[in-house]
Symmetry: none
Subunit: 292 residues, 2 copies
């Protein structure tokens, strides 16, 4: 091709038209993609979840560089923590490990009452968790009402029955028959409390404005980890269940706002006298840890 | 403008050029955005995380109905747990709450040594966490080597500097100046250990086959919550940081396999003698709990 002056002189108007076409399309593309981008960042509550995800985390953070807390912007006060001798530290670490190692997911509950005040303290403990930009994006709904517990059971079992009838293979269902495991969840009636763990997908400011929540799923799950430790420490048991198919129906039943999404359902109580657990082993330390 | 036939006849070559410009740009845009989309869905292991997300969780689960554990398919053994009197339960719950309420995210570390054996016990404790289908999708990499810690610091700070220089507003940076907060993270050199928390996005079976991991982000975050409780119980402190921009580089530096993705970076050690924390408050119980 001849890019000399005569060529440009002859075809300048065509080149100009091509350039104009390019500019128009680029402008359209930018305004469209720009809008798409804006909507993802603010308008669609379902998309807010994406804000926790990797593709967005590579961009501007609620917190620069990503510490889970934006505590940097507040005045500082001295921090003191009791320091144990090495011997005492070893003893405490070992004792806490042994306590947590006794924790198991238990599906056989006693219907014995548990004081509500204890549950309050357990939830306060969960509330000490760190969270992205200190947003504390959790709501713990404690269900003790017998009728409400039963309605929850019915909603969860309805989904569970669909799983068994349609979503699982015949072999799988047959295997489970031997163990008398079905879609029935009697513990949802029996346990004295059901802790419904709602993740706030976004916050609401003092003037009703929507506030972004970053890392909310990581944050609330860390909070639940602390809750599990508190439950075990109190001599109680739970099942860490994720009844997500039933989530929207349960949110409606409990009248929770649309910025809350059911993440986990934890029945809590004493284990039944004849409770059993599957004979499972945990991975060895060498399979979960590397030292460099 | 005149769009009649004479106009079209006269300027057809210009219109054609504009059309060609449009088509070229559209083609380029599609191939670029199309590739980006495909990579997000399948090729990049880091992107596999989306499989844990809500839109997928509403479909067939690894575990029907979603209990975090598939323990149902194993033989059962009796489960016993020490039962406390109500008075004792209240005392234990309150004591554990007070301990956890003293926990704060601390960025000022002492360089005093911490016995590696204690860290082993802390990681064992994290390993008692429940997980989706008992997959235990976590690898805790403990970095104690001085040079390796420094390389990690350099990688994290390089990303952090980009955040400060390009991704944050001038006002924000100015606000942070007053607090002497910069992209520098000296604690990554000072803390005796850096715990690098890697999430296994999928497992590898005995014959090298890929095993799906469900709920892995929830599971590992719960495990980290238990770890935070164990760290606090031992009289140590940490920063729950999410250095995701630096994740791939850190994974390469530490030689971790591609099914592992860095979720969190937790430096641990004693707090510095003159450590400070931001004067933040936690939400009241009434703002995080509802009873029905």
């Amino acid at each position: 091709m001849d890019f000399s002056a005569p060529f440009l002189t002859r075809y300048w108007s065509h080149l100009l038209s091509a350039l104009i076409g390019f500019v128009i399309v680029k402008f359209l593309a930018q305004s469209l993609f720009g809008k798409e981008r804006k909507r993802r960042l603010s308008d669609d509550p379902a998309r807010q979840l994406d804000l926790d995800r990797d593709e967005d985390q590579d961009e501007v953070q609620g917190v620069p560089g990503g510490p889970l807390s934006s505590e940097d912007t507040t005045e500082h006060i001295p921090y003191r923590l009791k320091r144990y001798t090495e011997k005492e530290m070893f003893r405490r670490a070992e004792e806490f490990y042994r306590m947590m190692d006794e924790r198991r997911t238990v599906r056989f509950f006693s219907d014995d009452a548990v004081p509500l005040g204890v549950v309050h303290t357990l939830i306060k403990t969960a509330g000490t968790s760190p969270s992205g930009a200190h947003t504390q994006p959790w709501t713990y709904v404690i269900v003790q009402d017998v009728n409400l517990k039963h309605q929850i059971r019915e909603l969860v079992e309805a989904e569970e029955e669909i799983n068994y009838r349609k979503r699982m293979s015949a072999t799988w269902v047959k295997d489970l028959e031997k163990l008398r495991t079905t879609w029935e969840k009697p513990y949802l009636d029996i346990a004295p409390y059901l802790i419904m763990v709602f993740k706030q997908t976004y916050g609401v400011g003092p003037n009703g404005e929507r506030l972004n929540h970053y890392y909310s799923e990581i944050s609330i799950s860390i909070s639940v980890g602390i809750l599990l430790a508190a439950i075990q420490n109190a001599g109680l048991v739970t099942v860490t269940s994720t009844p997500l198919n039933a989530g929207p129906a349960l949110r409606t039943l409990l009248g929770r706002p649309i910025n809350e999404k059911l993440l986990l359902l934890l029945p809590i109580g004493y284990p039944a006298h004849n409770a059993t657990v599957p004979d499972l082993q945990r991975k060895d330390l060498k399979d979960i840890m590397a030292v460099m």
